[in-house]
Structures are given as structure tokens and as C-alpha cells.
Amino acid sequence: MNNKLLKPLGLGLLTALSVASQSAVAEGDAVSIINDKCVACHAKESDTSWSRISHMRKTPEGWLGTIGRMQVMHGLEISSEERATVMKYLADTQGLAPSETEGYRYALEQRMNTHEEFESGLFTEMCARCHSGARVKLQHRPESEWMHLANFHIGQYPTIEYHALARDRDWWPIVKEQMVPMLGKQQPLESTAWSEWLKAGDEAVVGSWSVAGHMPAKGDLHAVMTVTEKEGDDMYAVALEGAFADGTPLTGEGSAIVYTGYEWRASIKVGDETMRQVFAVQDGTMTGRMYSADDDSRGMDITAAVESGKARVLAVQPAYIKAGTETELTIVGANLSGEPSLGKGVAVVKVLKSSDNLIKVLAKAGKAEGVNTVAVGTTSGAELAVYSSVAAVKVVPEFAVARVGGNGGSTAPVEARFDAEAWAAGKDGKAGTDDDFRIGFMPASWTAKAFDEQAAADEDLKYAGTLSDNGVFSPAGAGPNPDRKMSTNNAGHLTVVGTVTDGDSSVEAEAELIVTVQRWNTPPIP
């Protein structure tokens, strides 16, 4: 095989979204780089328009994937700085409006355990069987460009019409006659959302941000993120200072860039680990995911609010209190002022600590169950569950994929991380009915077992990896294992059991875990 075709197009490339080395970016620079590097193939149509390039809109990751493909497949020679300049220009001038990314940001955030569902079975079978459907949904083109994309698929991947779910149908006529017109209609180049977004001003990001979040199998976190201007177009220096609920610090420094006026991409060194941030900035808030550059499964859900903006309550940690008990709760927010209130039946016994972005209280819950709204002064936000007993547990995610890695190979292992989500039975006292309410993620004990008879016979539990006490599955090393039947690798099919102890009783739930081989092809959008 030609090794040229096998260069990973992924995690390495994603670094390019947020590296500190990005230089000053100006539209003029980008245009001259495009005129210098791209016009050999892309005809110049006007001063700022080129064939193909100027007739589509996509996310920063989408543009990165395209330029990366031009480098790997078509011999484009471009420096990292030049690529960053072009990417910034294209994402800014031909990006997606925030509303156009809604519902598909999981792909940008590298949430690899997302189970996609689309209304159109045809779309699922024709597009989402090879890559995420989100990769398609995050592009806008006129029909003629969708047609080019379809032709590219068959030219670049000639086996495409021989795959399962392709060889059972007249694949190419369906692409041309059904898929292309459908995509051209549903995701056209021009949209009101985009033209309105272009008229709106960029989101402001400089300042201090109060951050709340949760990391599966680790717990809640809060932090303060300070953003200052840096040389370069929409470039920022970032300092993060905070901690997880268990006291582990979450502190680091890095740099960020904002694409398309709202797409925040940062790279922050936390201890030895480089963490990426993929956030959408909107009206003084940031939401998204922060994850490890080495293992995208190690990530946390983040919401943040700028401290100079509106008052906001972001979270209460933990988000539950047992009826009739006293416990410490932390309210995370921004610009908080006034008295904290935990809703009906939950008294604030004492305010232990109070600042603009953090209020720590000793709370006491009465006997009444339910979901309360947390407020500080006149600002309300997070929900606090008051429960008397845990009636049911769900393991989140219910279906996860971990991947073997390391062991001398080029690809690192990918963990799976589990949380136990507790639920209360509600008024009717029965679990599994409409009036159940979510209590929240609770500490649990964890065990794994073979998923089925086949997994037991193949000793998957022995070979596939180990599950820690806190719900982190670490897969075993990559490569054929001579000790296994047929020298197979350390793949496995397991059931993960999470058990929540509530007083004298315990409630358990299961999740399915597939431990499989490495992802060799890791484009910026899965």
C-alpha cells in the first residue's frame, strides 16, 4: 500500500485548530496565500472567489479536514502558519451560523459515544454508514457542489458502491437522483441564519469566566477562566484555575482562537495533559466540551458565563440532597448577588462562603421530594433534586466503545468512562413511570462481566482491559495476542454494572461496552 494514503488525518491535525504558534491573521494574507497555493487547481473567479472553495460553508474542523486532504491527497504544500491563516479566513467568511450547528456539535466536540438518529433512513444508509451524519449536516452547499462531493466519493473511494447497504441497491443513481437534490434543498449555500449572523457582531470573550462542569467517572468541577487578548486576529491567552469536587486541581494555561465570531477553540496544558476546548460562545456564555488531546474519551462537559455580563446561576454541585438530611452545596454562577435560595422545603442553614461566582452553603432538606430551582437573589438557574430514596439507576453512557492501543503501536488506547445516574420514583412510588425525576450522578461501585456466552467463552473479561473502582475502563494493549483464540487482539464485549448504595439498599444498572480496535482514520470531524 501507499503509505502516503495512510497518514493520519486527525488528532494531529486538530492541534492546528488551537496551537499557540498561530501568527497574525489578516484577510489580505489569506487571499494571497490562496492565490499562491490554490489557484493551480482552483480557478480564480474574482478577487475573493475561487472555484469549489468559495461555494460551500463549513465549520473550522470542516475546513481543516479539507485543507488537510489537499495536503495528503493532492500534494498541496503549505506551512502550518499559512494553513491556519487560510482556515481562519474561510471559517470566518464561509462558516456556519450558530443555529446551523445546533444538534450536531457532538461531532465537533469529539463525543464518540454519540448514537446518531436521523429521520431519513436513506440519509442514514447512504451517508451515515461510513462517517457521522453530523459531518454532512455541518456543511452547506448548492446542489452543484453536493454533486461534486458525490462524484468525489466514488472517485476517491471506489469500493463505496460495493459495501453492505450499497451493493443491495442501485447506489450511484440513488446518490445522483435522490441524495444530491435532497442535500441541496436541505442544506443550501445561502441561508437566512448565515446572512443574519454575518450582520451580527462577534461575541466578546475577553474577561473572566466562571466555569462549571462535570467529568464522567470523576465528578463535578468549577473554575475561573481568564481570557486576555493576544497578538493575532481573534487570538487569546487563557488561564484556567479551578478544581474538581474531590479536590483535584484543574489549573493550566494556554491559548485560544475564535472562529466565525463564536467558535472557541483552545488548547490548555493542565498538568502534563494537553486539553482542547470546543465551545460555542453565545450571549456571554460558553458551552461545549474540554477533552484530552491524547484520548478524546477523557473529557468534561462545560458551561461558562462571563463575569462582566448578566447574573447567571450555572450549576449546583452536587445537584441533589437527600430529604431530611444536611449537606454542603456549591452554587456556581457569574455576577451573583443576593441571598441564595434552594427552593421549597430546603433551607440554607448557613452560607459558608460567598463570592461573585461561588456560594457555598450548608443546606437542610425537609421531607418533601421534588425538583427545586436554585436561585441567588433574583437570578435562578440550576435544579436541585430532593429525594428520599434511589429508585432506579441508569449507567451513562448505556452503550460505550473503548479501543485497544499502545503496546508499541502508533495509536493510544481510548478509555470508556461511566457515571451512575440516579432516579427517584416520584409521587407514585414506582420507578419507570412518567413522574420519576432525575437525582443526578452519584458515587457508585463498578464491576464488569462478559456480555454474553460468546464473550464468556472467549474470556473477554480477562483480556479486554480493566475497570477501575470509579468507573473508568482502561483497555488492554493493541495487537494480536498469541494467548487468545485465533491470536485475536484484546477486543471484547462486556457488561458494565454500576451499583449505587442508598442507605441499606443498593440499586444497580448495566451498560454495554464494546472494546474494539484502534481508529486508524481520525479526521477532524468523525
Partner: protein
């Protein structure tokens, strides 16, 4: 040549890594110096290809590798067809874009052809390669993409006919339009070209007229789902048949309830001597096989392989025996007597099984890397 499992396993590990990463093997086959060995009349051989880019000839009587010939180009897929003269073997390689023919006596490259016919096209052949009964013509299906400066255009596939006497850099002598999605092909004794695609087509290679020989996607079998056919291994059987496995679901009634459907294996068959065709279920679907072959000794016996070597009684639709394998094998081949089953594909060895007992009797390691999706061919000189 038999290796112990202990010796074999590290070899497998190395070849698996090579297969996954696409690394080229540095080691040249030791047997390459034996390129001058000529094949003996009446003797039974196997030709098989692997990485980095070789054809190997195995003497099936001694079950020993007797020679290795280098083939130009980047290996892949390595699909082989032995010519009717049993002197020349054709290999599809170089990223599915080139066919080379090698004289197995001299190891000389005697024929080559680019699937692309113009500087602005890139044509791939998806395992579609067959030879006329007299060996004078080579048939391939080329699926071209037209390469414009800033976009591609998917073109319709064509059947390209080559004169095998054209030597190197041959050009097609005739071309015909053919349906999309065709993979493997075989030629009948009367010269009719059979092609496995949406249906099993037959083509008059002079006029280019295409008819359906066996309906597959378009079959009309009441209470059956359309079959699934994955066939990229052009097996040449000792009994001169074109056999294609299918899997399907048979429903109990017209509610077409998947929950009560029976999942079945079956085969399409063209008798290349008579042109007689057959569509027949032979087993319940319990696992995947990549290839299957009826025994030349007993046409009622079907062998299937991927993660097991399985043996079925076709009439009884019953599994007779199943053997565990040391690793996956993609392709099955048999000797003309029908007494031995050879498993190839995947890694860099050919495993030999007794057709009666399914006991493993030998393992023939190949120098170099993975056989990958290549298909071994058995022939008598």
C-alpha cells in the same frame, strides 16, 4: 516446512501489524533465487500472491514452496487468475490500477496493462479479471473517474478486452459498457463471460450484449428477502464452475416478520462447461464465510471459510463438520482430487486441511507479508 504453532505465532503477529499499517516488508523471499525452476507437466501446483509483491508457486504434492516471482507495482489487491495454458498468471495490483502477467517458468513479465486509458482518468478494477478459454483474451471491468483540475467525475464502467499477446503496456482491443457494481467474473468454455454484479450477468464478448444469467438482487423467490452477495475472490474451481455464495432471509408468511425469518446460506452456480445455472440454499446462516467451494470429489459437499472451516451437506442442508482455525482465512481452494482443502488470504501462510476429516495437515509459510484479499489458484500443468 511444517512450523510449530510457537514458531508461527510471532510471524503472524508481524504480518498482522504489517497488514494494518500498510508497511512494506523488507525481507525478500529466500526462494526468489529459485526463479529459474520450471514447472513439470502433469504436476499440480498452487499460485498465490502476497506483499511486498510476489507470486509464489507451491508444489501441491510436496506441499513445498518451489519458487517466487517478483511482480512490479505496489501490491494490492493481488487478485490472481491462472491462464488456461497454466504457464502464465495474471495479477491485478498497483492500487487496483494495473494488471501484470508473469510467466511462471521464467518469472518474466510478459504482459502489462494500465486500467486507465487517458492521462485525465483514473480507472480501478474491482477484482474483475478473467481469461478466454484459449487464453488469447483478457477481460477486465474498469471503473474510471475523470480527473479535472478541481473536481472528479464518476464515469460509467467499461468491459475492456485485451489481446494477451500485446505484451507490455497493452491497450484494449474492444470495450463495452457494462452495469455498475460488478466484481468477479469467469468465462465459460463457449467463451461466454459471466459477471457477478446486481445479478449474475452473461455477456457475449464479441457483441457486448449483456443478459441476466441468474437473477440475484432481482430474483423472484416468494417469501425470500433479496440476497446479499459479497464476492471479491475470483476462485477458479477444479470442476470448472463459477460459484457465488449468497445469504438471505426466508420468511414464514407474507407479513415478512424478521423475527420469525430463517437466515440462510445459498449459492449461485454456473457450470462453465454446460452453461447450466443453479440457485440453491444449503445451510442455515450461523456465521460469515468469505468464500465457499463445492468439492470436486462430491458436488453435494460445500466448504465455507472465514473464522471456521465448515463443511456442509447441500441436500440435507446440514453442517457436517467445522474446524477451528488459528486465524481467519478469506479463501478456500481444493486440489483436483478433492482430498485437500487449502486456506489462504489474510496473513502469509497457506493452511492445508484434509477434506474428509477437516484435520489440519500442514501449514505452508510464505516469505514476505500478507496475502490480503488475493485468491490462490490451483492448476495442473
Amino acid at each position: 516446512m511444517k512450523m510449530t504453532n510457537k514458531a508461527l505465532l510471532p510471524l503472524l503477529a508481524v504480518s498482522a501489524v504489517a497488514g494494518l499499517t500498510g508497511c512494506k516488508e523488507d525481507a525478500k523471499p529466500e526462494a526468489a533465487e529459485a526463479t529459474k525452476v520450471t514447472l513439470e507437466q502433469g504436476h499440480e501446483y498452487m499460485v498465490v500472491s502476497n506483499r511486498p509483491s510476489q507470486m509464489h508457486v507451491i508444489d501441491l504434492e510436496s506441499e513445498a514452496l518451489i519458487k517466487s516471482c517478483d511482480v512490479p507495482g505496489d501490491f494490492g489487491p493481488g487478485t490472481l487468475q491462472i491462464a488456461p495454458d497454466h504457464v502464465t498468471a495474471y495479477m491485478l495490483t498497483d492500487h487496483y490500477e494495473k494488471i501484470y502477467a508473469v510467466n511462471l517458468d521464467s518469472c518474466d513479465v510478459v504482459f502489462s496493462a494500465d486500467m486507465s486509458q487517458a492521462p485525465d482518468e483514473r480507472a480501478k478494477t474491482l477484482y474483475s479479471m478473467a481469461l478466454s478459454p484459449d487464453g488469447k483474451e483478457l477481460y477486465t471491468i474498469q471503473t474510471p473517474t475523470k480527473l479535472y483540475a478541481d473536481h472528479y467525475e464518476a464515469m460509467e464502467p467499461r468491459l475492456a478486452v485485451y489481446d494477451t499477446a500485446s505484451g507490455k503496456d497493452a491497450k484494449p482491443v474492444r470495450t463495452f459498457e457494462v452495469p455498475r457494481q460488478i466484481s468477479v467474473m469467469q468465462v465459460a468454455d463457449d467463451g461466454t463471460l459471466y459477471m457477478a454484479g446486481a445479478d449474475i450477468y452473461k455477456m457475449d464478448v464479441t457483441s457486448g450484449k449483456v443478459d441476466v444469467a441468474i437473477p440475484s438482487r432481482n430474483w423472484e423467490r416468494p417469501l425470500y428477502a433479496p440476497p446479499d452477495v459479497l464476492n471479491v475472490w475470483p476462485i477458479q474451481t477444479p470442476q470448472n464452475e463459477f460459484t457465488i455464495l449468497y445469504s438471505t432471509a426466508k420468511f414464514t408468511d407474507e407479513t415478512y416478520d424478521m423475527n420469525t425469518a430463517t437466515w440462510l446460506w445459498g449459492y449461485f452456480n454456473v457450470d462453465l462447461e454446460t452453461g447450466e445455472t443453479e440457485t440453491r440454499d444449503f445451510a442455515e446462516f450461523t456465521e460469515i464465510y468469505f468464500t465457499g467451494m463445492r468439492s470436486p470429489a462430491d458436488p453435494n459437499i460445500m466448504f465455507g471459510v472465514l473464522n471456521h472451516l465448515a463443511k456442509y451437506d447441500i441436500k440435507e442442508q446440514k453442517l457436517v463438520k467445522s474446524a477451528d482455525l488459528e486465524h481467519s482465512y478469506y479463501t478456500v481452494a481444493m486440489n483436483h482430487a478433492g482430498s485437500k482443502v487449502y486456506l489462504g488470504g489474510t496473513f502469509n501462510d497457506v493452511a492445508v486441511y484434509d477434506a474428509e476429516t477437516l484435520e489440519k495437515t500442514n501449514d505452508i509459510p510464505l516469505p514476505g507479508g500478507d496475502i490480503s484479499p488475493s485468491t490462490a489458484q490451483v492448476f495442473i500443468r
